[in-house]
């Protein structure tokens, strides 16, 4: 039942939009994938922005959380103080989950739509028939042209394996790290290496059409991150100004306020800063 609703409301419209874009964009399915990915990411940008804002707010109050962790040894009291800080700062720790959960099915549908619209076997084309709307403009377009820039979009491609790895890594690097906990931070650093490797491994088996989607998706993600957080290494200021978390009324510290400024909010490894420098700054 849920699967049928998912197919009817999300996947089928996306499959048809892909085929429509293919027709509009000179029968090039590669261009259709690029346009489609950018379009969907733009439509869901408000959700992405909200998620980025919440993440950034969380980053801002991390020094205070660390102070609380040091100050209180009783876990219950510690939790109470942290929750109090969240309340006073106007930050909802689960706030980034909502937009993320909303985007997740969209991303899955997007990924499936690319796979379905690009049949790699006669059976897959047969299956596509059940997803296409009864509109001759769409029906006449299938099967779509499989080649893009001399590549067969149905087959894995080594260039895309590399691009998937690089763009996933770039997205990780431009994503803000919420925690200041050393152990979690080191795990995240490891994930920054593991995730690109993992997705590059998947790309070895993906049709390159799916990899193309992933690469464009990651590039758009990197762009959003830079627009929101800026990129100090290249002296790029954020375009979307984010409100800093509200300062707790009584316990606001000057150091905390300073840490929430745009300049000090930094990406995972701190763009332009070494890991050692990051450690030194921590109270």
């Amino acid at each position: 039942m849920i699967g049928e609703i998912f197919t009817l409301l999300l996947m089928n419209p996306m499959v048809n939009l892909l085929v429509l874009l293919n027709n509009v964009l000179f029968d090039s399915f590669g261009l259709a994938i690029i346009a489609f990915t950018i379009l969907i990411r733009l439509v869901t940008f408000p959700l992405t922005l909200r998620q980025l804002h919440v993440t950034r707010s969380m980053q801002g109050i991390q020094p205070r959380i660390q102070e609380i962790n040091k100050k209180y040894s009783d876990p219950k009291r510690r939790q109470e103080e942290v929750m109090k800080l969240y309340r006073e700062s106007g930050v909802n720790p689960l706030g980034c989950l909502g937009p993320m959960l909303l985007q997740f099915p969209i991303l899955i549908a997007l990924y499936n739509a690319v796979r379905i619209a690009l049949p790699n076997s006669p059976e897959a084309l047969e299956k596509l028939s059940s997803h296409l709307y009864d509109w001759s403009y769409l029906q006449h377009a299938v099967p779509v042209q499989e080649h893009f820039l001399t590549m067969d979009l149905r087959e894995p491609n080594l260039l895309f394996v590399v691009l998937v790895g690089v763009t996933t890594w770039a997205q990780s690097k431009t994503t803000v790290t919420v925690t200041t906990d050393e152990r979690v931070r080191s795990q995240q650093q490891m994930m920054n290496i593991m995730l690109p490797l993992m997705f590059a491994f998947f790309a070895l088996q993906f049709p390159s059409g799916v990899s193309l989607y992933w690469v464009v998706n990651s590039i758009v993600g990197v762009t959003f991150n830079i627009l929101t957080y800026g990129f100090p290494a290249l002296r790029i200021e954020p375009i979307f100004k984010v409100r800093a978390p509200r300062a707790p009324a009584a316990e606001i510290q000057p150091t905390t306020a300073a840490l929430t400024s745009d300049r000090e909010l930094r990406t995972t490894h701190g763009s332009g800063r070494s890991k050692r420098q990051n450690r030194r700054r921590r109270p």
């Binding site: 076997s121 047969e126 006449h140 998947f202």
Partner: protein, 379 residues
């Protein structure tokens, strides 16, 4: 390595196969129809394997051989994946086009390759084979998904043309030979006619439809049946490519028709079965389309006497009165996968092969379906 990271790395490694399974695409299954030659039936069972089974008394058949044979070392490297075109039986040979392992000439007696003698011939072929081979004058013709049309000598598998002919879009339909002309359909919606003698164009212009043409059939020496996924079914004059009949169905048509002198019968992907009188232009329906409760029809129908036999995706075998369009009986087949292979007629029965490699025999006399138990088939 930091030991604290071990659980995380372990979790990621465990996730790898799960993610890999998630990204699996629809794999080729194949839909070659069973081909009957005397007491022998050639069936494509799984992953592009073909078996020769001998029909015994009653409802049983025993495999004589399977190719590729997993118990033979030379065959272990051959991975055909699927067979879409019906095998061609000629003399003591079986000619076979596989989706990804090339073309084979097998010895009918033992199923061993006459050629290629060492593995496959995929290095000579650009693209996959989503159709079968056509045999004429000792030459095998086949097309590929990369839009190449090949002509090979059936005797030894050597090329009969210096270069394959190139087309703009892929060739999925098995080429058709009628008279002294070879007909080729492309997924770009074109049908080309080529002279068998020298490969030169036999029509002034190719026939062009607005949708892909994934199948092509000769009704006789003078007419072609052209189903298209633009929901049309055309009957063309084989002489010059002009349209003799054009019928718009309710959904994609991608199937072989059952044919009598003046009528054709076929199903569509929306689960409708049509009967057309093709003696006039436009073709006139014999009756209102018969509904199969929305179940897709990919398998070509069969007609025996006045009974039309259609197998749908569910799969259900439906017996229809070809004169009136009345449903005579519907027989569901349980736990057998689906049916995409064309229904094959022999000795007054219709033979139906499912995607799980099970073979059934439909009896038009009493509208019943019985399974033929296959034994000894290697999968």
């Amino acid at each position: 390595m930091n030991l604290r990271r071990a659980p995380l790395i372990g979790a990621i490694l465990l996730c790898l196969p799960v993610f890999a399974a998630c990204v699996r695409v629809t794999n080729p299954d194949g839909w070659a129809a069973p081909v009957i030659d005397g007491q022998d039936v050639y069936v494509s069972t799984s992953k592009g394997h073909i078996s020769a089974v001998t029909l015994q008394d009653g409802d049983a058949a025993t495999a004589r051989w399977t190719f590729p044979d997993k118990d033979r070392d030379p065959d272990k490297k051959i991975e055909p994946e699927a067979i879409y075109g019906d095998p061609v039986i000629d003399g003591d040979r079986v000619y076979l086009a596989t989706f990804s392992a090339g073309v084979f000439a097998l010895n009918k007696a033992d199923g061993r390759p006459v050629w290629p003698t060492n593995g496959t011939n995929t290095s000579q072929i650009k693209g996959n084979l989503a159709g079968g081979v056509a045999l004429a004058n000792g030459i095998l013709y086949f097309g590929t998904t990369e839009g190449r049309l090949y002509a090979w000598n059936a005797s030894d598998g050597s090329p009969a043309w210096p270069e394959p002919k190139r087309f703009d879009r892929g060739i999925w339909a098995t080429p058709v030979v009628a008279g002294d002309t070879l007909f080729v359909a492309t997924m770009g919606g074109e049908v080309h006619a080529l002279s068998l003698a020298d490969g030169s164009p036999a029509w002034i212009d190719p026939f062009v439809a607005t949708g892909a043409i994934a199948d092509l059939f000769a009704l006789d020496d003078g007419r072609l049946f052209v189903p298209s996924i633009n929901r049309h079914a055309y009957v063309l004059n084989a002489e010059d490519g002009t349209i003799l009949a054009d019928y718009r169905a309710r959904d994609w048509v991608w199937t072989e028709p059952a044919v009598t002198d003046s009528h054709v019968f076929f199903g569509d992907f929306g689960g409708h079965v049509y009967g057309l009188d093709i003696t006039a232009t436009p073709a006139s329906p014999l009756w209102d389309p018969v509904s199969l409760e929305g179940e897709r029809v990919k398998a070509g129908a069969a007609i025996i006497g006045d009974v039309l036999i259609v197998a749908d995706r569910k799969p259900v075998v439906t017996f229809i009165n070809a004169t009136t369009g009345q449903i005579l009986n519907r027989v569901p087949i349980e736990d057998a996968g689906t049916v995409r292979s064309n229904v094959h007629v022999a000795d007054g029965f219709a033979y139906i092969l499912t995607t799980k490699g099970r073979l059934f025999r439909a009896n038009p006399q009493n509208y019943s379906v019985a399974e033929i138990a296959l034994t000894g088939v290697k999968k």
